[in-house]
């Protein structure tokens, strides 16, 4: 599927009145709720292009508007078919909103539907430039566990770990900033209709950043768990 394709919901035949239904969620002819065509992704659900900059307030407004129309509370007296469709459509709406609302899950989702999301070959492997720091961190963590078990003094170790945690938190923020930078490049590339090779390169870079991010995040989480536990 082409990435430049902006969302237009493919026309389909209404299950109820058998007319060509042009409305995105409801039949333009009889007003009945419609099943979502399988090729409609979360961006298209909101009528958005596959761009990474999304205005939060605008997305929320669309989400609330569609909630009014699709929520199962609207279909208590409707036919079983319509009830099922409402359940399906409103869950898709909520899934789409949840995914697109956060910048990171948005990038992850974009790469997934473009077929460009590849998790690290070995998830547990540290990015080479972080190796040294991760090694030091793991040592401190081991020491803390031993000290906990042996009842030794924890305060110095804890201070050291907290410093390490802050250091990795900063790295996380850096990654997020880099992601934002590539996201802007991606949107510009779409606007300028650049060729596939360039776009694929951007996606590969985003994919690397996502893997790096998930590695650091796990690290921070482990340290935090060890510090509070």
């Amino acid at each position: 599927m082409s990435a430049t394709r902006t969302a237009s919901m493919s026309p389909l035949i209404c299950w109820s009145c058998r007319e060509r239904a042009l409305g995105p969620h409801f039949c333009s002819n009889c007003g009945k709720i419609q099943q979502l065509p399988r090729d409609v992704d979360y961006f298209a659900f909101f009528g958005l292009p596959r761009k990474l900059w999304i205005e939060g307030a605008e997305l929320e407004k669309k989400f609330l508007q569609l909630s009014w129309q699709l929520h199962p509370d609207n279909f208590v007296h409707a036919t079983e078919r319509e009830k099922d469709l409402s359940l399906e459509r409103s869950s898709q709406l909520n899934d789409a909103y949840r995914t697109l609302r956060e910048p990171v899950s948005r990038v992850e989702y974009l790469l997934a539907i473009e077929g460009a999301r590849k998790e690290g070959e070995q998830k547990q492997q540290a990015p080479p430039e972080l190796l040294e720091e991760v090694f030091g961190l793991n040592e401190s963590l081991d020491e803390l566990r031993e000290a906990k078990a042996g009842g030794g003094d924890l305060s110095a170790l804890k201070t050291r770990l907290e410093a390490a945690e802050n250091n990795f938190q900063e790295k996380l923020a850096e990654v997020d900033e880099q992601l934002q930078g590539i996201a802007r490049e991606w949107d510009a590339a779409l606007d300028n209709n650049v060729e596939n090779v360039a776009r694929n390169k951007l996606m590969a870079r985003m994919n690397d950043l996502l893997n790096r991010r998930s590695y650091i995040r796990n690290l921070v989480r482990n340290v935090a768990a060890e510090l509070t536990g």
């Binding site: 399906e88 869950s91 949840r98």
Partner: protein, 604 residues
């Protein structure tokens, strides 16, 4: 279209309410004693009939082994889950209980949904008497932090009671609806709900749109085993000990005494919400009087750890909503236990603003359920509720770890798809284990269901089956599967880890109708007997009057015979027979009644 009622199925008390479109307000429906609160207590009478509410509560003292309270604590839980409860609650659980607990009342066994169904049926009766028409659809509230099994158990209870549960609504959300209707509110609202047995905190955002008001839940947290009950348990344990030491009276083998002490302590607790000091005076079986003077300060020192336990969930809910205490515009208190001054103070200090308490904290959840019932009855007109799932949904992966597929606080309905394939040639099944909870390992999460996805024999990796996990607007999981290649629905049988099967619920529904018929027959019998007594005494009085001295002997004999047969029938328990003999006596005394009446009118 028949009316939809709102029901608060509480740990301590339950209520039923309806929305009056004429006044635009929700209202609680009173029971036969004029009270809107129905104690959530069920008792099995030795004659086999079921007693619910206030009369059952009184039996806690006289027949504790046939009576049960706080059954909500057992909903959707397995025998292993409730061992802690058993130390504190006089639940008599059948040792042969499998994945669903069975509780003994007298010599009979009931599941928690069946017992809850008795309470729901009582409230259904209240509503039917009030409207003088059948009521068979309801919105029922549940603690926001209830998991899938607890929600399913509540829905089952509704079905067993003959009620179609159109929606389960989270209690704090219902309270927010009631408050929103009471007085238009905007912005971010925290609802702190400390009930008899459960604690919930929900953070909502109230938005006005051109279509109407949206109540969007941002996050929720809680503890389904934290509430006023815990305060009572603490006090009870403390005073058992005190009385044992000072008077050498041991309450543990005496269920009646223990229950009486608990009741007395609850009274003192309530008094101390109003006054600064109160006294417990408790007569002991050895003739001595146990007296203890309480101050509010001393009580607060005791219960402080319990109130503190609510703050963990409060902080987590705020963090999940990405808010700080000062970001909230309103704080609402719900649940009887929030009458405790210490609770109010703690909440006020944390959020740095006085909490709302305008609506009766016992009624507000039922009122909110009635508002949601109205929304469902008339369709979304000017109010929409967007709630969330309180716990993350996950599936077990290699090594017993859990992969989260729907994170907690996702707006519901919510769904996730997982693609499955086979690992070896001709593999015919793929085992799937669904869990709920926040922990990393499956053993630390709540098991919802296990099932085997059946696959036709094929080379490894060829079958492609998409399993869809969908949490509906009630917070209940639905699982479906689709063969990706053929696009055909894939059949699936999911047995919940803790819950009743459809056929069990069906059977319980039938049994409960029998109980309902039994109850009905009993009421008819009592009424027929009362009427028989009235006509018998009226007849006797008429016969003894002076003006009937000239009554024909034949007529007198007929009346005597009718009296004798009615007396005989009234001694039995066939209400239809009693009714027909009342009619016979009525007929036999028609002339007599006329004579007496004429005489009376001549005289005055």
């Amino acid at each position: 279209m028949r009316r939809i009622v709102g029901i608060d199925l509480g740990t301590t008390n339950s209520l039923v309410a309806y929305f009056d479109p004429q006044t635009g307000a929700a209202k609680c429906i009173p029971g036969p004693y004029g009270e809107t609160l129905c104690p959530s207590v069920v008792s099995l009478d030795p004659d086999g009939s079921i007693i619910v509410g206030e009369p059952a509560r009184r039996r806690l003292l006289t027949q504790p082994e046939r009576t049960i309270y706080s059954v909500k604590r057992l909903m959707g839980r397995g025998p292993a889950d409730v061992q802690n409860e058993l130390r504190l609650f006089p639940f008599r659980i059948d040792s042969a209980s499998q994945n669903v607990i069975r509780v003994k009342l007298g010599s009979k066994l009931f599941t928690p949904p069946e017992i809850s169904a008795f309470i729901l049926r009582e409230l259904k009766n209240w509503a039917e008497a009030y409207f003088a028409e059948p009521v068979d659809r309801a919105v029922v509230t549940v603690p926001a932090y209830f998991n899938d099994a607890q929600r399913q158990a509540t829905k089952d209870a509704g079905r067993i009671a003959g009620l179609e549960v159109l929606r389960l609504v989270n209690e704090p959300t219902a309270a927010a609806l009631a408050y929103g209707l009471h007085e238009k509110r905007r912005g971010k609202v925290a609802v702190y709900d400390l009930g008899g047995g459960t604690f919930d905190i929900s953070i909502l955002k109230l938005v006005s749109t051109s279509e109407g008001d949206i109540y969007q839940v941002l996050s929720t947290n809680g503890d389904t085993h934290l509430g006023g009950d815990d305060i009572d348990n603490l006090l009870q344990a403390l005073f058992h000990e005190k009385i044992l030491q000072q008077h050498q009276v041991d309450f543990s083998p005496r269920a009646e005494l223990a229950q009486e002490l608990r009741t007395a302590l609850i009274r003192v607790k309530h008094e101390l919400s109003e006054k600064d000091a109160a006294a417990l005076r408790f007569p002991l079986p050895n003739g001595a009087m146990f007296v203890h003077e309480f101050t509010r300060g001393a009580l607060e020192a005791l219960i402080c750890p319990i109130v503190d336990r609510t703050m963990g969930p409060v902080k987590q809910a705020l963090a999940d909503a990405q808010l700080k205490p000062g970001d909230l515009d309103e704080v609402v208190l719900v649940g009887g236990a929030t009458r405790t001054p210490l609770v109010r103070r703690t909440v006020q200090e944390y959020f740095n603003r006085p909490p709302h308490t305008e609506l009766n904290p016992d009624e507000v959840v039922a009122l909110g359920a009635a508002v949601q019932a109205d929304i469902l009855e008339r369709g979304v007109k000017n109010m929409l509720l967007l709630d969330v799932t309180p716990l993350s949904l996950g599936i077990e992966t290699y090594g017993g770890a859990v992969a989260k597929i729907i994170p907690r606080n996702s707006t519901i309905p919510a769904s996730a798809q997982e693609l499955y394939t086979t690992g070896v040639d001709n593999q015919t099944g793929i085992d799937i284990h669904v869990l709920q909870g926040e922990r990393e390992m499956a053993r630390d999460c709540r098991s919802l269901a296990r099932f085997t996805l059946k696959v036709p024999p094929a080379p490894a990796g060829l079958p492609r089956i998409e399993v869809k996990f969908l949490i509906d607007a009630n917070g209940i999981l639905q699982v479906s599967a689709r063969d990706v290649r053929s696009s055909e629905q894939h059949s699936l049988e999911v047995q919940p880890s803790y819950g009743l099967s459809d056929s069990e619920v069906e059977r319980m529904l039938e049994e409960s109708i029998e109980y309902a018929e039994q109850d009905f027959a009993e009421r008819q019998l009592t009424e027929a007997r009362t009427e028989a007594e009235a006509i018998l005494s009226a007849t006797a009085k008429a016969l003894s009057a002076e003006q009937v001295a000239g009554l024909a002997l034949e007529e007198k004999r007929r009346i005597d015979a009718a009296v004798a047969t009615l007396k005989e029938a009234a001694a039995g328990d066939d209400y239809k027979l009693i009714r027909s003999r009342i009619d016979a006596l009525n007929q036999a005394t028609t002339h007599l009644a006329e004579v007496v009446m004429n005489f009376a009118s001549r005289r005055y």
